[in-house]
């Protein structure tokens, strides 16, 4: 998927684009506020939220810690249900398997419900290369597919489009002009996609949770398109991250309590579907053939890593995006990858085991910890961002200027006469740039800082230059206390001692 956003190489450059787009900024702020307030209300109403979070965390921790057992159990049960299970170590392998299945199903079109894993694989493009039309059927995903863009939010992918832009896109598809009216636009999509659902040979879904003990897969959605793609076409392909497992349906109650409330503030999504195998022999709907592709694609790199293993606990609710002050300002596209926000900032480099390339998204965070507070399974994302920055520096991918700066700092600070010399030079040099006591220039080394602030000028006399005087004053002060003051203080101490012996207690601490 090629996008205009991808051309800009750094988060800063992409964020500049986003910050310049007034509509996007407002839309992101409005939507994230709405979702965040929805979550706050839903969690308060439900009550005991901390206990639910802790329970959710424990279930996820337990499952991941025994993932070889639970995943294996899931696979065996799914197979017993008649599902064709496949394994893909990489995105390429998953794509290859999908294309193979599509070719054997003689597919001309594939209808898809929202799946972040599918975004991860850039599957639509691959399907096109073998002449298979891939149709996104989630309303928001359909819109951005027509626009040829990437989702900008895990839960609301077309957050960055207004209804005039959407009307224009859909009108092009319809061949006639549609009004910029939400109901009319959604009505057109309903009709258009109905045909696609009934035509398509393959339905493709993601997987929110997979239940190990019964080999079932669970989907949460509001529109009904995930049910469509898993009910109507003859063949179903489900893409599943290897960490989506939970042990039982009873555990699903906890996930179903945490996920919708954290994502959209709902008590439950309009549809929650548990699918256990293809249609039974006598059923008149549901897929004849069902495939589940279990995908690693960098996930197992987190296993056994004490700093990052908890990343696999993520249930993809998007609450950390809505809580993040940085995301709220720059939007999802600035992160330049499938997963945005705090989770994306950690997940993307981890999945890609490529800290160098994605290094700068770890810096798109103020480390305030709002993401951790919002996370329904308590993933310490803010700590992980620090670990990531540390690893980046350790592996020699730190900011070059910053490293040189730090080395220079060490050289200068390591020697007092050198520091004195530099400060004197600075005082001379700043005469060129100081205006009314501050430095406002956006040239040279102060550019980044001065873009949003001003730098104070160096004082006439530095702290170090004042030191000798200060030192003498201090020493003199300590040596010769005024005799009357000394006497007063001694009396006070004696008084307190007496009170303590009489049991009165000195400072009111009782």
């Amino acid at each position: 998927m090629s996008t205009a956003q991808k051309k800009e190489k750094t988060v800063k450059a992409r964020a500049d684009l986003a910050l310049n787009d007034e509509f996007l900024r407002k839309a992101v702020r409005f939507t994230t506020e709405r979702l965040r307030n929805g979550k706050k209300k839903a969690t308060a109403e439900h009550g005991n939220w901390e206990e639910w979070r802790e329970r959710g965390r424990q279930i996820r921790l337990h499952t991941i810690a025994h993932l070889d057992y639970y995943l294996n159990l899931f696979v065996n049960n799914a197979r017993a249900n008649g599902v064709h299970v496949h394994f893909a170590n990489t995105a390429e392998e998953a794509v290859k398997l999908t294309l193979d299945i599509a070719e054997h199903a003689n597919a001309k079109s594939v209808v898809k419900s929202k799946s972040m894993v599918s975004e991860e694989l850039h599957l639509n493009h691959a399907l096109e290369t073998i002449g298979v039309e891939a149709v996104e059927t989630d309303l928001g995903e359909y819109i951005i597919q027509l626009a040829g863009e990437m989702p900008s939010h895990i839960v609301i992918p077309a957050i960055h489009k207004n209804r005039y832009q959407i009307a224009e896109l859909l009108s092009k598809e319809a061949g006639y002009t549609l009004p910029p009216d939400t109901t009319a636009l959604a009505g057109f999509v309903r009709k258009k996609l109905r045909e696609k659902f009934l035509d398509a040979e393959i339905g493709m879904t993601g997987c929110n949770f997979a239940i190990a003990e019964t080999g079932s897969m669970v989907l949460f959605e509001n529109e009904g398109n995930a049910r469509m793609v898993s009910t109507v076409p003859k063949t179903q392909i489900t893409l599943m991250g290897m960490e989506r497992i939970i042990p039982s349906w009873s555990d699903l109650e906890v996930m179903a309590t945490l996920l919708p409330r954290s994502a959209t503030g709902q008590k439950l999504t309009m549809y929650m579907s548990g699918i256990t195998g293809p249609r039974r022999e006598k059923d008149a709907d549901g897929p004849d053939e069902m495939h589940i592709i279990i995908i690693d694609n960098g996930r197992s790199l987190q296993l056994g890593d004490p700093e990052f293993q908890e990343l696999l606990n993520c249930i993809r609710c998007g609450a950390c995006l809505n809580a993040c002050p940085v995301y709220r300002h720059i939007g999802g596209h600035a992160y330049g990858s499938t997963y945005s926000g705090p989770i994306g900032a950690v997940l993307t480099p981890s999945l890609n085991k490529n800290i160098a390339e994605w290094d700068d998204i770890a810096n798109a965070s103020s480390l305030c910890g709002a993401c951790y507070e919002a996370c329904p399974v308590k993933i310490p994302l803010h700590d992980m961002l620090v670990y990531l920055r540390r690893r980046k520096v350790e592996s020699g991918h730190g900011n070059k200027l910053e490293s040189i700066g730090m080395q220079g700092f060490a050289t200068i600070m390591g020697n007092s006469s050198r520091l004195g010399g530099v400060l004197r030079l600075g005082k001379l040099g700043q005469k060129l740039v100081v205006r009314s006591g501050v430095i406002k220039t956006k040239l040279g080394p102060l550019k980044g800082w001065n873009t949003y602030r001003v730098t104070p000028s160096l004082p006439k006399e530095s702290f170090r230059e004042k030191w000798d005087t200060l030192d003498q004053e201090l020493k003199a002060g300590l040596r010769q206390m005024d005799p009357s003051m000394k006497q007063r203080m001694e009396e006070l101490v004696q008084k307190r001692e007496r009170e303590r012996k009489e049991g009165k207690g000195g400072h009111g601490h009782g």
């Binding site: 939507t31 709405r34 005991n48 206990e51 424990q58 279930i59 337990h62 070889d68 057992y69 995943l71 294996n72 017993a80 299970v85 394994f87 054997h104 989630d138 309303l139 819109i143 609301i156 209804r163 999509v189 309903r190 109905r194 009934l198 003990e213 019964t214 529109e223 009904g224 398109n225 049910r227 469509m228 898993s230 009910t231 109507v232 290897m242 042990p247 039982s248 349906w249 009873s250 109650e253 179903a256 309590t257 309009m270 549809y271 929650m272 579907s273 548990g274 699918i275 256990t276 195998g277 293809p278 249609r279 039974r280 006598k282 059923d283 008149a284 709907d285 549901g286 296993l303 056994g304």
Partner: protein, 241 residues
């Protein structure tokens, strides 16, 4: 194609089984433990204990279910008998001019006698004619009529299970969905329904278990709520008993 479809699937399965071992071994080695073959102790299974003890009275369940279902744009009717349900559905069908109706093939629904009640409508009974393409019948239907297998008051949800006589499409493709909920199936918590699937076990689960909590909806265009995006936009929950 040199190989038949079956041979191709068998080939894939052989590859999958070989890879399964490598995949699981890799996970175990990353987790730094030998391959786990025994079921581990899972002390945190399911909801917290305080929650499992929580239960509403029937009156509260009816009230909470109703409030929840209404709050998401669904409709609720409280009815005494199946006879009332029959009248309600027939009235609505007349009111909305429902021409095509599809219903699950269940005796309780047959007893409603909608065919006689609505002579102007075409009432199809799910999966009664093997020559039909039933998905298309459901897609063209104005009304879909189902009976809930379970319902949950706390989330305002209805559960429908698929079977030979109960199509998944009937609760999904029609424009209007009528769900009859016998009151004794209305529980307080989601867990009360979910645990029945653990108890039933893998072999006894249907292909499709669907929780429905209201009409299909989306807020994908400018956060503006739209009802009936893909699934039914009008959903009636008829609490009977």
């Amino acid at each position: 194609m040199a190989d038949t479809h079956k041979q191709w699937l068998e080939k894939l399965e052989a590859e999958s089984r070989a890879k399964q071992e490598l995949f699981m071994n890799n996970i175990a080695s990353k987790l730094r433990h030998p391959r786990m073959t025994e079921k581990p102790q899972h002390p945190f299974r399911g909801a917290p204990d305080f929650w499992k003890a929580f239960e509403w009275s029937e009156e509260e369940r009816i009230k909470e279910f109703t409030d929840n279902f209404l709050s998401v744009g669904g409709h609720v009717a409280r009815l005494q008998t199946m006879e009332d349900a029959k009248k309600f559905i027939a009235d609505k069908a007349g009111e909305m001019g429902a021409k095509y109706i599809v219903r699950q093939n269940q005796p309780e629904l047959a007893d409603l006698g909608l065919e006689q009640q609505l002579p102007d409508s075409q009432v199809s009974v799910w999966n009664t004619d093997p020559g039909q393409y039933w998905r298309a019948r459901a897609a063209e239907a104005d009304f879909g009529i189902v009976i809930a297998d379970h319902a949950v008051a706390y989330t305002g949800s209805v559960t429908v299970l698929s079977a030979e006589n109960k199509g998944r499409s009937v609760s999904l493709l029609p424009t209007v969905l009528m769900i009859i909920i016998p009151l004794d199936r209305l529980k307080t918590r989601l867990g009360e329904v979910l645990s029945t699937f653990d108890e039933a076990g893998r072999e006894h689960l249907p292909a499709g278990i669907h929780f429905i909590s209201g009409p299909s909806r989306s807020s994908d265009i400018e956060n503006d709520l739209t009802i009936g995006v893909h699934g039914p936009g009008i959903v009636y929950a008829l609490l009977v008993g």
